[in-house]
């Protein structure tokens, strides 16, 4: 029995070091997170104040929402590079609907969600039906959207009173309800975006971990052919994953639009990389070694807390990207370098 279970030809694992290693892989990132919080809290007591924690949550909420979406595509063995530009396009779409078409809140939101679903479906169809590799397909739609969103306004940001390409002036404005999505605080403390993030984190965790559809998605990511031969409709699941990703990105775009209050063409530039980083850092949380929603949320929080703490301690803003990069590389080392190799 023992010779079979530990057959080295299959696992390639050396056991004595493996225990320590397994411990490091499983808890390394969490230990790091706790140590970091303890350090910042002792250096800056204000770090742990409710006000500051809310600021951190708010700063990561949109990135985390996008990251949760991209996690779903990672689970099926794909990747969605278009999320940043979907969010930016959703922001422009919401602004355009309200400012140019003078539409209402629900119409703006519906337009964004429809956009996200549509882009997700296009991505999915490109990948599943035309067999374009996922990175390339979503890179293509990313470029396409980045360009398309500029066309209706001839490349300018959208704000009340702007002149349109046809010479008229846009008279509409952001509705109060829409702006409230970005500004209202529940119990005067918690912003809506944080609540949306938490709700999505819970929902996607439950979906991926506990439902049978999530289970099949993991199976597809691990061995698509085996999933197919077990009777799973791999194509539909993949398209669904990209649609979930698109919707999450558009929700992120809506919240971003509500926060900025104008259709700013340059918003959302850093969303893609931050979200992808959060999802990849999530691989290392609890040594999951695979995409998972809780890990993604913790990954986003990790980056947010780190940047916030360093800012409080007067680290210059231009170091932020380097820090994010370092965290990502470290997390990837935990996940891939230390974990037991599968052959």
């Amino acid at each position: 029995m023992s010779d079979t279970a530990t057959s080295p030809s299959r696992t390639g694992a050396a056991k004595p070091k493996a225990d320590l290693r397994a411990l490091a892989v499983r808890w390394g990132l969490i230990v790091l997170l706790v140590a970091m919080i303890a350090y910042f809290a002792s250096a800056e007591p204000a770090f742990l104040s409710v006000r500051n924690l809310v600021i951190v949550l708010q700063s990561v909420s949109i990135v985390a929402i996008l990251a949760l979406g991209v996690t779903c595509t990672l689970v099926v063995g794909g990747f969605d590079l278009s999320i940043g530009s979907v969010a930016a396009s959703a922001l422009m779409a919401a602004s355009y609907v309200m400012v140019v078409w003078e539409g209402g809140t629900l119409m703006a939101i519906a337009a964004c969600l429809a956009l996200g679903l549509a882009v997700g479906m296009v991505n999915g169809l490109l990948i599943v039906k035309l067999r374009v590799p996922d990175l390339l397909a979503t890179l293509g739609t990313m470029f396409l959207l980045l360009g398309l969103q500029l066309i209706p306004t001839a490349g300018r940001s959208i704000a009340t009173g702007m002149s349109l390409p046809d010479g008229t002036t846009a008279e509409g404005r952001f509705t109060a309800e829409f702006l409230a999505l970005g500004r209202y605080r529940v119990w005067d403390t918690v912003p809506i975006s944080v609540l949306v993030m938490l709700a999505l984190a819970v929902a996607i965790t439950i979906f991926l971990t506990f439902t049978r559809w999530g289970r099949v998605m993991y199976a597809i990511g691990s061995n698509p052919q085996a999933a197919r031969l077990a009777g799973a409709n791999v194509e539909r699941y993949k398209i669904a994953a990209y649609m979930i990703s698109g919707v999450c990105a558009s929700i992120g775009g809506i919240l971003l639009a509500a926060r900025v209050g104008r259709g700013d063409v340059s918003s959302g530039n850093s969303l893609l990389l931050d979200a992808v980083a959060a999802a990849l850092i999530g691989f290392a949380v609890f040594g999951a070694g695979k995409p998972n929603a809780i890990g993604t949320a913790i990954g986003a929080l990790f980056v947010g807390l780190l940047l916030n703490g360093l800012t409080m301690m007067n680290a210059p803003y231009y170091t932020q990207d380097a820090i994010k990069g370092a965290v990502l590389v470290a997390a990837l080392m935990f996940t891939f370098g230390l974990s037991v190799r599968k052959c």
Binding site: S7, T211, A230
Partner: protein, 492 residues
């Protein structure tokens, strides 16, 4: 040339996989190396090939100390290994010439790769084993048998001082295997010691002049001519396998009717009826159309004509999910590529197709799922700690049992198993055969295999397929092996 192993021990953590192996491989001999899955064969091979280092013990090659630190180190010393998993031996996206020349490319030389300069050498490598494929054919487009032969051609080009073949015939047809055997015999006559790992008694009978058996990390038997095969099997398993003979079960109602189905492009239409309670084995060489037939029945390829009827109703699956929905299940030939989900544990691999039955409101009930897996472990004798074992920790035979357990989870009309005994040790094969026969009532069972012995072990009825057509049908009670073999190799 000779290789001598002295007291080789290998430990992985607390478990001792090899417990002191003493073995000498001498020129001019083909040594068959037998052992159940998990006995330590692969570990020993990997130590000789420089993949692993022994915990203790020493090796001498031609009398000189041999302690390879890497596979390329071992290769330089003349130790050539053809690994069991074909796709690890070849690069699927490169063509035949590039695959044959890959070692030379890696070894250095001119910065520009000129195909013309290598064509003759590559062709010579193919000619040596009598393989007739185009040098410009991409490996991924070749059938597994040809890929394996390309890998072997490449290995032989190293002028091995010691050749190790790990299950080289598992993807080969009998003709191809025979070609390989001829090449192996040629090398043996040139004085190259050969270590031949196989589960196939046919290969061993044909080729070996010595059998070494490994069991639980120890050498338990070393047999020389005249070889006592039964004793070797006993030494390998620590028990004698009882005779597998079983009585034919009378066939029940028809389950699946195949009428006028062209299995391969341009072959005669096939007619076949599968009955409830009956285990039908389709035997045939590689390329006979067995896998194509199974894929058509499972909705992986469209039928180009003919008619399928399942339980009296038309049956035209266009996707495996259609087949599963109608109670037609299949375990694919390629276990690791087509059945096993490597990231899942044992229990999740068992329940994958039937998650609906294990969930309420979409949420998977882990308890029910683990109970089913525990039941499967018990019922099929799966060697594992429990339902939560990572699937990758199981040996090939046990993984195959998990696959079988998967398809025995839900009520089934037709169960198809494509090469269910590939890479499965004899004891596990026996367990799987018993389980198949014990559960065969209430469904039709179809086994596809190239090995006649395997078919005889489980089937009530043997169908011989050649070029997509049925060329023979035999009932288990009265059949002549000679006739079947003759039909299998008949060129239609």
């Amino acid at each position: 040339m000779s290789l001598e192993l002295k007291a080789i021990t290998k430990r992985f953590g607390p478990s001792e996989v090899l417990r002191g192996i003493d073995l000498a491989l001498v020129p001019g001999s083909v040594t068959a190396f037998m052992g159940a899955n998990g006995a330590g064969k692969s570990t020993l091979v990997r130590i000789i090939a420089g993949v692993h280092t022994a915990t203790a013990g020493s090796m001498r090659l031609d009398g000189r100390t041999f302690a390879p630190t890497s596979p390329s180190d071992a290769l330089r010393a003349g130790v050539v290994v053809v690994h069991q998993i074909i796709n690890e031996n070849v690069v699927l996206t490169m063509d035949v010439l590039e695959n044959l020349m890959i070692d030379r490319l890696c070894a250095g030389g001119a910065p520009f790769f000129r195909r013309a300069a290598h064509r003759d050498a590559a062709q010579a490598m193919l000619d040596r084993i009598g393989l007739d494929v185009s040098l410009t054919a991409e490996l991924g487009d070749l059938p597994p048998a040809d890929r394996q032969m390309v890998a072997i051609a490449r290995a032989l080009a190293h002028d091995p001082k010691l050749l190790i073949l790990d299950e080289p015939t598992s993807a080969l047809s009998d003709t191809e295997a025979e070609r390989l055997f001829t090449v192996i015999e040629g090398l043996r006559d040139q004085g190259v010691p050969i270590l031949y790992i196989s589960h196939r008694m046919g290969d061993i009978r044909r080729l070996a002049d010595r059998i070494v058996t490994l069991r639980d990390g120890r050498i338990t038997g070393d047999f020389v001519v005249p070889l006592d095969y039964d004793a070797a099997v006993r030494a390998m398993l620590g028990m004698a396998l009882d005779d597998a003979a079983h009585a034919r079960v009378p066939a029940g109602d028809p389950v699946l009717r195949i009428e006028g189905l062209p299995v391969l492009r341009g072959t005669a239409p096939l007619n076949l009826t599968l009955h409830e309670g009956e285990v039908t084995a389709i035997v045939g060489l590689v390329g006979a159309g067995k896998t194509e037939l199974a894929e058509t029945l499972y909705g992986q390829r469209r039928a180009t004509g003919g008619r399928l009827t399942l339980d009296g109703a038309p049956y035209a699956p266009v996707h495996p999910s259609d087949a599963v929905g109608r109670g037609v299940f299949m375990a694919a030939e390629d276990r690791s590529g087509g059945s096993i989900v490597p990231d899942f544990d044992l229990s999740r691999n068992v329940t994958l197709p039937f998650l609906g039955a294990f969930s309420g409101l979409g949420l998977v009930r882990r308890g029910r799922e683990r109970a089913r897996a525990a039941e499967a472990i018990e019922g099929l004798g799966i060697v594992a700690q429990g339902p939560d074992d990572p699937i990758a920790a199981l040996s090939g035979g046990n993984q195959q049992k998990v696959v079988l357990a998967r398809w025995l989870t839900a009520p089934c009309r037709l169960l198809m198993l494509d090469e269910p005994f590939q890479g499965v040790d004899i004891a596990a094969r026996r367990d799987i055969g018993h389980a198949l026969r014990a559960t065969a009532g209430g469904r039709a069972t179809l086994i596809l295999c190239a090995d006649l012995d395997e078919a005889l072990e489980v089937a009530d009825r043997i169908i011989v397929l050649s070029h997509g057509a049925v060329v023979g049908e035999h009932s288990i009670g009265d059949l002549s092996r000679a006739a079947i073999v003759q039909q299998m190799s008949s060129a239609a």
